[in-house]
C-alpha cells in the first residue's frame, strides 16, 4: 500500500468509538426536547412546568450530558437491558426481539429469491463459457429487474397482485402467503443487481489469459467453468455484502407497505413517536446485522481468494461493456417524458382544491385528482422541483465534501466505511428521529450515503492531477503548495466530478423519494414524489390513478438512473475519468 495504513486503522478505530458514543447518546442529541414529548405521551394531564420537565429528565437519565448518557446506555446493553420505552414505559427487550425475528425471516426469504434470480441471470453467461463463446454484457433482463427500487416494486405488487387481482393478502404477517409478495419485492432488485454483477464478471473472467492456457492444456470444460465461477465470485464478493446491506435497508420500506411487524416498521414507529430508546435498540440490532454481513463477506473473501493478498495482486474485476447507444436512447426517452410532464404540469396549481375528490383522468385532468381534489398532473410536475432540486443540492454538497475528505486521505477511511455500511433509509430514520421529519433531514441522510463514492473518485483524480509532470515541476518555478492545489490540482478534478455527480442525480432523487414515501422527508401538503405515492396508496382500491401518476414519474427516474449507469460504464477512455473505477474503490474506501 502506497499510503500509511496506520492512519487508516486509527481512523477506523476513532470512527468506531465515535459511532458507539453517538449511538448511546442519541436520546441526549435529540433536537426536540425529549422531556417535553415524554411528558405529553405519558402524563397528558400534567402541565409542562420546568419542575415537571426536570424530573422527567432525571427519570430518563438525561441529566448527565452526552457521555454519561451514552455510557449508562451501553452498560445497560452489555448487561442485557435494552432500556425502557419513553412512550409506553415498558421494557424494550421482548418487543424488539420479536420484530427482529420477523425481519430475519423476511430478509432470509428475500435473499433466497435474490440468489435464485442471480443464478438464473448468470446461467446464460456460464453456458457461453462452456461453449467457448464468451460474450460481454448481461443483457436487458438484469437491467429491467434492477430498474425499480423496493418501495416502488412493493407498492406495485400491492396494487396489482393483492388489490386488483386479489391473489394474495395485501398486508399482515401470518402464513407463507403473506410472505410471498414482500420477499419478491425485496429480493428481485437485489437478485437483478447480483446477477448482473456476476454475469458481467463471468464473461470478463472468461476472456482472461489463464482460461485459454487451461483450454490448451486440455482441461475438461467443467473444470474451466468451475474455475471461472470461483474467480468471478471472488471478484463480486465485496459487492455481495453491499447488496445484502441494501436488502436490510429496503426491508424498512417493504415492511411499511405490507404492514409487517418487523424491525424496519418498529424503527419507523419509534422515529415517528420520538421513542429514542426504542430507536436505539432497533439501530443497534440493524448495525449488528450489518456487522455480521461484513464478517461473513470477509470470511467468504478469504476462502475464495485464499487469505489476504497484497494490493494489486489481483487483476481488477472485469468491467462490463454494455451497449452505449441503447442506454443513451433509453436515457433520452425517459428524460424527454419527464420534461413533458414537467412542462405541461408546471403552469397548473398543485395546491388548489378545486376539482372533484378522486376525479378519474380526463382531458381536462390528464392524471386525475387526488383525495383532496388537487390536480395530480400539477402535483407530479411540481414534485419534480420538490424532489430534484434537493437532489441537486445533495450532489453538489457531496462533491464538496468528497473533495475535502479526499484531501484528508486515509483519515476519512473510517467514516467512509461506516457510511458505506449504512442503508440510506436507516440514516433517514435516525435523522428524522433526532430532528423531526423534514426535507433537510432527509437530504442530510442521503448526503451521508452519497459522499463515499465521490470521495474515492476525487482521491483518484487528485492523485492523477498531482502526478502530471507539469504539476510536479511547479515547485521549481517557485509556485507555493497552496497555489498548486488551488490553481492546478483542484480545478483539474472539478469537471470529471461534476459529470460523475450528475450521473448519480436520479439515484439520489429515488433515495430521497423513498424517505418521502416513508414520511421521513417532505411533509404534506408539499408535492414530493415519494409523499404523493404514499398519499395515493390509501385510496388505491377506489382510485388507482392516484398511485399511477407519481409511480410513473418515479419509474421514469429509475429508468434514467439505470440507463445513465450504463452510459457511465461505457465511458472508459480514461481510468480516473471512470466513475466505475471509483465505484470499485467504494468498498476499499478512499486512498491518498
Amino acid at each position: 500500500m502506497r499510503h500509511s495504513s496506520a492512519l487508516g486503522i486509527a481512523s477506523r478505530l476513532l470512527s468506531g468509538v465515535a459511532l458507539l458514543l453517538v449511538a448511546g447518546a442519541l436520546p441526549w442529541l435529540s433536537q426536540r426536547d425529549p422531556a417535553a414529548s415524554v411528558l405529553r405521551a405519558r402524563y397528558a394531564e400534567l402541565d409542562p412546568t420546568p419542575e415537571a420537565l426536570a424530573s422527567i429528565r432525571t427519570e430518563l437519565g438525561l441529566d448527565g450530558g452526552p457521555v454519561v448518557t451514552s455510557l449508562r446506555w451501553w452498560s445497560g446493553v452489555l448487561g442485557g437491558d435494552l432500556g425502557t420505552s419513553w412512550v409506553s414505559g415498558g421494557q424494550i427487550g421482548p418487543g424488539v426481539w420479536d420484530a427482529l425475528a420477523v425481519s430475519a425471516t423476511l430478509t432470509s426469504l428475500a435473499i433466497v429469491v435474490a440468489l435464485v434470480i442471480a443464478a438464473a441471470l448468470v446461467t446464460p453467461a456460464a453456458l457461453r463459457v462452456l461453449r467457448d463463446r464468451p460474450q460481454r454484457g448481461s443483457g436487458p433482463v438484469g437491467v429491467a429487474l434492477t430498474a425499480l427500487p423496493e418501495f416502488l416494486l412493493a407498492s406495485a405488487f400491492l396494487v396489482v397482485v393483492a388489490v386488483q387481482l386479489r391473489w394474495l393478502p395485501p398486508y399482515g404477517w401470518g402464513g407463507l402467503d403473506t410472505a410471498i409478495l414482500p420477499s419478491l419485492a425485496l429480493g428481485i432488485p437485489a437478485g437483478g443487481l447480483l446477477g448482473r454483477l456476476l454475469a458481467d464478471a463471468v464473461s470478463g473472467v472468461a476472456e482472461e489469459r489463464w482460461v485459454n492456457v487451461w483450454r490448451l492444456a486440455g482441461a475438461p470444460r467443467a473444470v474451466i467453468l468451475a474455475g471461472t465461477l470461483r474467480r468471478a465470485a471472488a471478484a463480486v464478493v465485496d459487492q455481495l455484502g453491499l447488496v445484502v446491506i441494501g436488502v436490510l435497508g429496503g426491508a424498512v420500506a417493504v415492511e411499511q407497505v405490507f404492514a409487517i411487524p418487523g424491525i424496519g416498521r418498529y424503527l419507523l414507529g419509534a422515529a415517528n413517536a420520538q421513542d429514542l430508546p426504542a430507536l436505539q435498540a432497533g439501530v443497534l440490532l440493524m448495525a449488528l446485522a450489518a456487522g455480521l454481513v461484513g464478517v461473513v463477506t470477509g470470511l467468504a473473501r478469504r476462502t475464495l481468494r485464499g487469505g489476504p493478498l497484497p494490493p494489486g495482486a489481483l487483476p481488477p474485476p472485469p468491467e462490463p461493456r454494455s451497449d452505449g447507444r441503447a442506454a443513451r436512447w433509453t436515457a433520452g426517452a425517459a428524460l424527454g417524458l419527464l420534461l413533458l410532464i414537467f412542462a405541461f404540469g408546471l403552469p397548473r396549481d398543485p395546491l388548489a382544491l378545486d376539482h372533484p375528490r378522486l376525479a378519474p383522468p380526463s382531458l381536462e385532468l390528464p392524471f386525475g385528482a387526488d383525495a383532496s381534489g388537487r390536480d395530480l398532473l400539477a402535483r407530479v410536475a411540481h414534485g419534480t422541483i420538490g424532489t430534484l432540486l434537493p437532489s441537486l443540492g445533495i450532489v453538489l454538497l457531496a462533491i464538496v465534501v468528497g473533495l475535502l475528505l479526499a484531501v484528508l486521505g486515509e483519515l476519512s477511511r473510517g467514516p467512509a466505511e461506516i457510511a458505506n455500511g449504512t442503508p440510506p433509509i436507516l440514516a433517514g430514520v435516525i435523522v428524522a428521529a433526532l430532528l423531526g421529519p423534514s426535507v433537510g433531514g432527509a437530504a442530510m441522510a442521503v448526503l451521508w450515503v452519497t459522499w463515499p463514492p465521490l470521495t474515492a473518485h476525487a482521491a483518484a483524480l487528485i492523485d492523477e492531477a498531482s502526478a502530471a509532470p507539469h504539476v510536479r515541476w511547479l515547485p521549481l518555478s517557485g509556485v507555493s503548495r497552496v497555489e498548486i492545489w488551488g490553481r492546478h490540482v483542484l480545478p483539474a478534478t472539478i469537471p470529471a466530478l461534476l459529470r460523475h455527480g450528475m450521473l448519480r442525480l436520479p439515484g439520489v432523487a429515488l433515495a430521497l423519494a423513498a424517505l418521502g414515501f416513508l414520511g421521513l422527508g417532505a411533509q404534506p401538503p408539499r408535492p414530493e414524489w415519494g409523499l404523493l405515492l404514499s398519499e395515493g396508496i390509501d385510496y388505491v382500491e377506489r382510485a388507482p390513478w392516484t398511485t399511477l401518476a407519481p409511480a410513473l414519474a418515479l419509474i421514469l427516474t429509475s429508468v434514467l438512473a439505470v440507463a445513465l449507469a450504463g452510459i457511465r460504464r461505457t465511458r472508459r477512455n480514461h481510468r480516473a475519468e471512470d466513475p466505475l473505477a471509483a465505484d470499485r474503490l467504494d468498498a476499499v474506501a478512499p486512498r491518498r
Binding site: M1, L474, L476
Partner: protein
C-alpha cells in the same frame, strides 16, 4: 554567486531514499555522496532501478530524502525534515525528461518562464532576463509566444533550459534531458547544456543512459541499486 573555489556549489552527503512507509518501506537509493564545483559537469549513470531519477528529484527538492543532507552554496538545502528554503529556491533548477509535458499546457512558454522568474527572484521587470536566457539556450524568441503543444520537442527542451537559466541558478539538474529527442537534436541540446555549464560556471548534474554524453562531462558517477 562567488564562492571560494574550495567550497563545492552543491554538496550531497549520504543521501538515501525509500519507497513506502513503515514496514513496507523499500530502499530505492543506496547512500550516495557527491560534490560538484562551479563549472563542473557530473554525469550520473547506472542501471534502471539504481535510483538516478530519485537522486535528481531529491536534489531538485521535489521529494524529501530518507536520510542524509544536501547543501547548496554552503547553506542547507534539504534533509529528511527540511524542505528547500523559499528564498534560495532559484539556486537549483532543472531540465525535465519530457519537456512538452513539463510546461502548464494552457500557458504560453513566455508566461511559464515569466511567472517562474517573478516568483523566484521577486523582480518586476523580467523581460531582459527572459530575453537573455532564451539567447543562451539558443531559443528563437518568436517561439516564446506559443504553447508547449505548438513547438517541437527540441524547441520545448530549449525553452525548458531557458526557464531554468532565467532564474539564475547555481546548480542545474538534467534528468535524461535528451531521451525524448531525435539523435541530431539530442546532440545539439546536450552540447548546449555542457557549454552553458562551463561558460556560466553552473554546477551541472546530468542523469543519462548515453555513455558518449557521459564521457563529455567532467566526471562520471555510477550508481548501483540498493541491496534488498
Amino acid at each position: 554567486m562567488r564562492l571560494p573555489p574550495t567550497t563545492p556549489t552543491i554538496s550531497i552527503s549520504r543521501i538515501t531514499a525509500e519507497h513506502g512507509q513503515g514496514a513496507n518501506a523499500r530502499a530505492t537509493l543506496a547512500p550516495t555522496s557527491l560534490d560538484i564545483h562551479r563549472g563542473e559537469s557530473v554525469a550520473v549513470v547506472g542501471r534502471s532501478g539504481a535510483g538516478k531519477s530519485t537522486l535528481a528529484d531529491i536534489v531538485l527538492g521535489l521529494r524529501p530524502p530518507a536520510g542524509g543532507r544536501v547543501s547548496v552554496c554552503g547553506e542547507g538545502w534539504c534533509t529528511p525534515a527540511e524542505r528547500p528554503p523559499r528564498r534560495s529556491r532559484h539556486l537549483v533548477q532543472g531540465v525535465p525528461q519530457d519537456p512538452t509535458t513539463a510546461f502548464v499546457p494552457r500557458w504560453t512558454l513566455r508566461q511559464s518562464i515569466e511567472r517562474a522568474v517573478r516568483a523566484l527572484t521577486g523582480d518586476r521587470d523580467v523581460e531582459p532576463r527572459v530575453r537573455d536566457a532564451a539567447a543562451l539556450a539558443q531559443l528563437d524568441p518568436e517561439l516564446l509566444d506559443r504553447r508547449p503543444s505548438e513547438v517541437s520537442g527540441g524547441q520545448a527542451q530549449r525553452a525548458a533550459i531557458a526557464r531554468a537559466l532565467a532564474a539564475g541558478p547555481a546548480v542545474l539538474v538534467a534528468d535524461e534531458p535528451t531521451s525524448a529527442l531525435d539523435a541530431d537534436t539530442a546532440l545539439a541540446v546536450s552540447s548546449a547544456l555542457l557549454t552553458i555549464a562551463r561558460e556560466t560556471e553552473i554546477a551541472l548534474l546530468l542523469v543519462t543512459h548515453d555513455p558518449e554524453l557521459a564521457e563529455r562531462c567532467t566526471r562520471t558517477v555510477t550508481l548501483t541499486a540498493p541491496s534488498v
